[in-house]
């Protein structure tokens, strides 16, 4: 596979796919950059023109922007933390020889296949609803007051819903990593007098480190762009309590019809996501080398 001829040929064969991907990326990006420097509001189509950095300034100085950044961090960080810790624990559990392990595993994995809008609707109307919801029913059964989830703890509620969706993914990846843990290493640790906790701390956890970074990387990419769950449940509210960056961009574009401002927001989101990606890929790269 290393002769000059095959190398040239393989590059040639790759070209159409790479070209298509490049166009797919560069056209929308250029358009967004172009619009971000335009004064362009659909409600005032006559006032178009070059806007300079105004759109960026406007987007960043918007008080909702700081709130959105914080909400995004809390959302991504919270879900990551819960899914990784929960994923390790569930993975350990599912790795045991329990009765009906196959069925239990499928049950665990299934939330991942439910589409975000449906999941959010189910949680909103059937579980978390203060009147008809199952949690409210349970609270009343024990004589408590039902919690109005989306009014009192809106961001936490979103975190719970997203966690429910992503926990299976984390569990699945971590479970496969656990299954590849060398049996003889564990036996060696047994001989060396390691307790169950010490074995977990010194053998299992380091073994899982690589899988954990992969989970963190993949989840971060998707969690940065969470939208459906917010749109369906809280619409970013109350106030800006559950507005994350993607939702803020959406609200500029399709609630204020400010194409220029939304494009500027989009570019800012792209830059922030790339900064995160660089750090993550470095962290993962370090972990994969070891």
């Amino acid at each position: 596979m290393a002769t000059k001829h095959t190398k040239t040929l393989s590059r040639l064969m790759n070209l159409p796919a790479i070209g298509l991907l490049f166009i797919w990326m560069i056209v929308p990006l250029t358009m967004a950059i172009y619009y971000s420097f335009q004064r362009y509001n659909l409600l005032k189509p006559d006032q178009r023109g070059f806007a300079g950095w105004f759109n960026y300034e406007f987007f960043i100085t918007d008080p909702a922007f700081v709130a959105a950044i914080i909400n995004t961090i809390v959302l991504v960080g919270g879900v990551l933390l819960i899914t990784i810790i929960g994923g390790v624990l569930l993975g350990l559990l599912l790795n045991q020889a329990i009765v009906g392990r196959g069925i239990v595993r499928i049950l665990f994995i299934s939330p991942f296949f439910v589409m975000p809008t449906v999941a959010a609707l189910v949680w909103k109307n059937m579980l978390m609803h203060p009147i008809y919801g199952m949690f409210a029913e349970i609270a009343r059964f024990f004589g408590g007051t039902p919690i109005d989830f989306f009014a009192t703890i809106p961001l936490l509620s979103i975190v719970i819903i997203v966690t429910w969706q992503w926990l299976p993914f984390a569990t699945l990846i971590l479970l496969t990593a656990l299954q590849s843990l060398d049996q003889e290493q564990q036996e060696a640790a047994d001989m060396d007098g390691a307790s169950a906790f010490a074995k977990f701390r010194y053998i299992t956890l380091p073994h899982l480190a690589r899988a954990m970074t992969v989970v963190a990387l993949i989840e971060t990419i998707f969690l940065l762009s969470i939208f459906a769950e917010i749109k369906v449940t809280t619409n970013g509210g109350p106030g800006t309590d559950t507005t994350n960056l993607p939702y803020l961009v959406f609200s500029r574009a399709l609630q204020h019809f400010d194409v220029g401002g939304a494009s500027a927001g989009g570019i800012i989101a792209v830059i922030l996501a790339n900064i995160v990606a660089i750090f993550l890929i470095r962290a993962v790269g370090k972990n994969l080398e070891a």
Binding site: Q185, E187, M191, D192, G193, S195, A198, P206, A290
Partner: protein
């Protein structure tokens, strides 16, 4: 101290009885090798002693204490695994220190012991590397280092050399033998390679289908095998066997004679045959001689022998070196 006694040890996996009943008395400081064909239960027996498998019946007594239900750590044995089982994310230093750390020893003491072990195993330059960067032989030495730092009452080796190439295997064999001479600790060593068994052991346990066939010194096994199985298993190339009229002549059901106890001649001898394979090893020549009516025999003669494939030769056993077996396979 490392006196290990097995009393009526029995092990079943579900309905399958792997080890029916084994009695052994391994003396302190002895180098004992478990040898047998694959699937004979030798590794299972070792794992039972280590405590990695539960006994189905019987007792294991170490230094007078019944440890049948003790955890592996409580038995104070150290084991070297076939895959080495090093901890991949720890440096060599941390690997060797791990059992000491688990025992709660203080750091200064640990450092001292690790340095000493590394020095005796030529690992000092590699202490800060991870196992992934080491060669097979070095990994093997790290595994041994991890075993010796604890000063266990006995070492258990589970086919430790089977992942090494031939030259390295010979070296490590000598290193382990030296280690035993130096430490004078009981060692139990599992292998399927009878050359390893013969060269290293004080005493060898020959196992077949979970039963101890014979327990004795290498030369005992070679000179006085108790039955046909041990006779055929110990020695390389394998012993030749003949039955029928040839055996009746010696008042036996079957007779055996080793390749090195045979004479090859181009003119006269007991059996006439054709050479089907001639292996010239330099020092020795192995001939596989297909006789007319007694089967194929392997002979061992010196390297200068000028006999080749297809030649007709006569082979005869040295009559004073013949092993006689009864119909039940036992030696007569």
């Amino acid at each position: 101290m490392g006196n290990i006694v097995l009393e009526k040890v029995n092990k079943c996996f579900g309905d399958v009885e792997v080890i029916p009943s084994v009695d052994l008395d391994i003396k302190d400081g002895e180098f004992v090798v478990f040898v047998g064909p694959s699937g004979c239960g030798k590794s299972t027996l070792l794992r039972l002693i280590a405590g990695l498998e539960d006994l189905t019946g019987g007792k294991i007594i170490i230094d007078g204490v019944d440890v049948s239900d003790s955890t592996p750590a409580k038995r104070e044995l150290a084991m070297v695994f076939q895959s080495y089982a090093l901890y991949p994310h720890m440096t060599v230093r941390k690997n060797i220190a791990f059992p000491l750390k688990m025992a709660g020893m203080d750091q200064a003491e640990i450092d001292k012991k690790v340095e000493a072990a590394a020095k005796s195993l030529n690992l000092t330059d590699y202490l800060e590397r991870t196992p992934g960067l080491l060669s097979g032989g070095q990994r093997q030495r790290v595994a041994i280092g991890r075993a010796i730092v604890r000063s266990p009452s006995a070492f258990l080796f589970d086919e430790p050399l089977s992942n090494l190439d031939a030259a390295l295997r010979v070296n490590m064999r000598i290193e382990i033998t030296d280690l035993h001479k130096e430490l004078k600790t009981t060692m139990i060593y599992v292998t399927h390679d009878q050359v390893e068994a013969m060269t290293m052991a004080d005493r060898i346990v020959v196992l077949q289908a979970g039963d101890v066939e014979q327990f004795g010194s290498p030369l005992d096994l070679y000179n006085k095998p108790v039955n046909r199985f041990v006779a055929g298993f110990i020695g390389s190339p394998k012993m030749n066997f003949a039955t029928g009229k040839d055996a009746e002549e010696f008042n036996a059901h079957e007779i055996g004679f080793r390749p090195e106890h045979m004479t090859v001649s181009t003119t006269e001898g007991r059996w006439k045959g054709v050479v089907s394979v001639a292996e010239h090893l330099g020092a020795d020549t192995f001939l596989h001689v297909k006789t007319e009516n007694a089967g194929t025999f392997v002979t061992r003669s010196d390297g200068e022998l000028n006999i080749n494939y297809g030649d007709t030769v006569y082979v005869s056993p040295n009559t004073d070196k013949i092993y006689r077996f009864g119909a039940d396979g036992l030696s007569l």
